[in-house]
Subunit: 148 residues, 2 copies
């Protein structure tokens, strides 16, 4: 498939797909005309790239992690490439830290909400956000301390 269809099938713009290639994340075949030619593998690869980008990895880290990209010689990383593993572990730790920070921020928002409004109103506001998990804290003191 060409770049337009891959874009449609992944929800990613052609510009972004070219950018990924420029960053070494994709290396599609080329037709004699110069057109890029992708296979079904790239659909999954792009989804993976988007997942990792959404998690805050930059393209260099993704390039380090997703192998098989340099066009000449699909150098399959042997059974255990230590630097690859180090990169994976590093990014995994980053993600875990980020999740902790998100949880702290969510708790902070919860305490602010508790201080700003009676819980009945909050529940009404929460209902306006579908898919929002329940289970909030009830400690107005801390948020009041932050607010003033």
């Amino acid at each position: 498939m060409r770049i337009g269809e891959l874009a449609r099938r992944t929800g990613v713009t052609p510009r972004a797909l070219r950018y990924y290639e420029e960053q070494g994340l994709l290396s599609p075949e080329r037709r004699p005309s110069g057109y890029r030619e992708y296979g079904d593998r790239e659909v999954r690869a792009v989804h993976g790239i988007r997942t990792l980008l959404a998690a805050g990895l930059n393209s260099a880290a993704i390039a380090e992690i997703l192998p098989g990209l340099p066009p000449p010689g699909r150098r399959r990383t042997g059974p255990t490439c230590p630097e690859l593993l180090a990169g994976l572990a590093r990014e995994r730790a980053r993600i875990t830290r980020q999740m902790d920070e998100l949880e702290a921020a969510r708790d902070l928002l919860d305490t602010i909400m508790d201080a700003a409004a009676p819980s009945s109103v909050i529940l009404a506001a929460r209902l306006a956000v579908p898919g929002d998990p329940a289970g909030r804290k009830l400690d107005g003191a801390r948020s009041r301390a932050v607010l003033e």
Copy 2:
């Protein structure tokens, strides 16, 4: 205290503190000389700002959420300001979505790690990252599908 001490006590540079003020997140008093004068409240406020920034909120959202900032008339939001509540709920939902994305990315990294190395090596690599919680998946097929 002046900006330098607040910087030391929060781990935030003076430049960033001035930026926060410019964005309406802080509004310190001023000495006749023009020097900014902060209190202990701002220490906690800055920590809150950093927490929210780390969670991906931009300064506009934080300004919307942390009230009491416009120097003239500390307009205390009444018992229930609906737009404030809407902003809080919106950002809370954003955070929850982001946590889901992070979890997906971490699972993806786990499957890649499983495919890239025997678990014994992975465990060794994981030990190099202190504070990294355990509990990983063991499904090499999916990661192999992504890798090739």
